[in-house]
Symmetry: C2
DNA sequence: GAAGTTTTGTATCGAGTGGTAGATAAGTCT
DNA sequence: AGACTTATCTACCACTCGATACAAAACTTC
């Protein structure tokens, strides 16, 4: 075992609590007082473990990504491009209205715009959102190589469309929309997905 | 003319500057120091004119709504439901990447999640976003009565879909996506709009 | 047990927060 | 002109912000 006094709190548990605070109040809106209270530790412990408020957010984002990663693995394992899209939107509708978490998406509510001294937070969140879009794009490109998606389809456009709808669903959920509302949006989006020229559908 | 010393600044000009600060930094991220500097006035003048930081935001939101109202009038004047949707998405793509403003949408970046003491800001923004959705829904219901939209179409679902995509485009634009990227998303969304069962299209 | 190492709690730092008191300036009214 | 009304400025309020110094506590190693 390592030397010195052992840590009296569980890092992952504390991160979960911090994640919830950032999720519900955004980076600027989450004060150290709120964070330390939720995490059940004092400020010096927080700084010793995570370095800074920004470091804490990044650690929380890593944990968030880790959670979502399992979902995405299932999504990307869909047999066809259409099934991937279906799984993705449905997974978003569920997760953004999961009563175990604040409504919406941490990567959206966490901070689209921040004050002085937090200028890089929006970039941090954006790059994490971009990761999901890249995963989808890669999967659709593969589908195209497999002949599952028409050669004239546009994997990048499809991925960006889905990613955009997911962000929009985050905004919607954050303002109290219920699960059925998100599912309805997912349904319409999926129709669009299936039939648009970018997916190789017939233009009107 | 009214009695007393006349105001030395133009209220609307000052509001435009305040709007930009809220837009770029969000409600919590916009400090009074930033606001007063941008508006070119001192704190007491600000409070005399707008009552509080929240009052200033609401006034800025009113002005924002006023601006968008002209665009929406053009959007809703589209001859068909499809043309309304097309105009709406294209108007969003343009306005969210207008170099004269911060990228994205004030109603999205302004504050999806806020800190203690600003709890009602997200509601305020949400209710303004809901207004646009309601306008679209009403217009689509009218289209349905006109026989322009199929009887089995779902005006509420279509309006919510478009509104969600618009929010998503706001998120996308806020992270630096350019106009063409938003136009591409609009194009895919429009295909979905035209062909989905909610619009009276043929289900797969 | 003594030395060494790390974490914890208390107490606090300087800077910045939203907001205001009070005096002064700049107008209109009679 | 003088009374009245409103806006502006300087200075400042109590408070909260993110972050830290320091000493006591809790462990491992020798």
């Amino acid at each position: 075992m390592v030397m010195g006094r052992p840590r009296s709190f569980d890092t992952d548990k504390a991160l979960d609590e911090a994640m919830e605070v950032f999720w519900r109040h955004g980076y600027d809106g989450a004060s150290l007082a709120m964070l330390t209270k939720a995490m059940g530790i004092k400020a010096p412990s927080l700084y010793a473990a995570f370095g800074s408020k920004e470091g804490l957010l990044k650690a929380a984002l890593d944990r968030y990504a880790q959670r979502r990663c399992e979902h995405m693995r299932h999504v990307l394992a869909g047999a066809t491009a259409r099934e991937v899209a279906e799984r993705f939107l449905s997974s978003i509708a569920e997760s953004h209205t999961d009563p175990a978490n604040p409504p919406g998406c941490l990567l959206v509510q966490g901070g689209l715009a921040c004050g002085e001294g937090s200028e890089n937070i929006p970039f941090e969140l954006a790059s994490r959102r971009a990761q999901t879009e890249a995963d989808l794009r890669e999967r659709f490109a593969q589908a195209q190589r497999d002949g599952d998606l028409a050669p004239e389809a546009d994997p990048a456009a499809l991925a960006r469309f889905l990613s955009t709808v997911a962000s929009g669903m985050g905004v919607l959920a954050s303002s109290g929309a219920d699960r059925d509302a998100l599912r309805a949006v997912a349904r319409v989006s999926l129709s669009a997905f299936t039939r648009c020229p970018e997916a190789g559908g017939v233009p009107s």
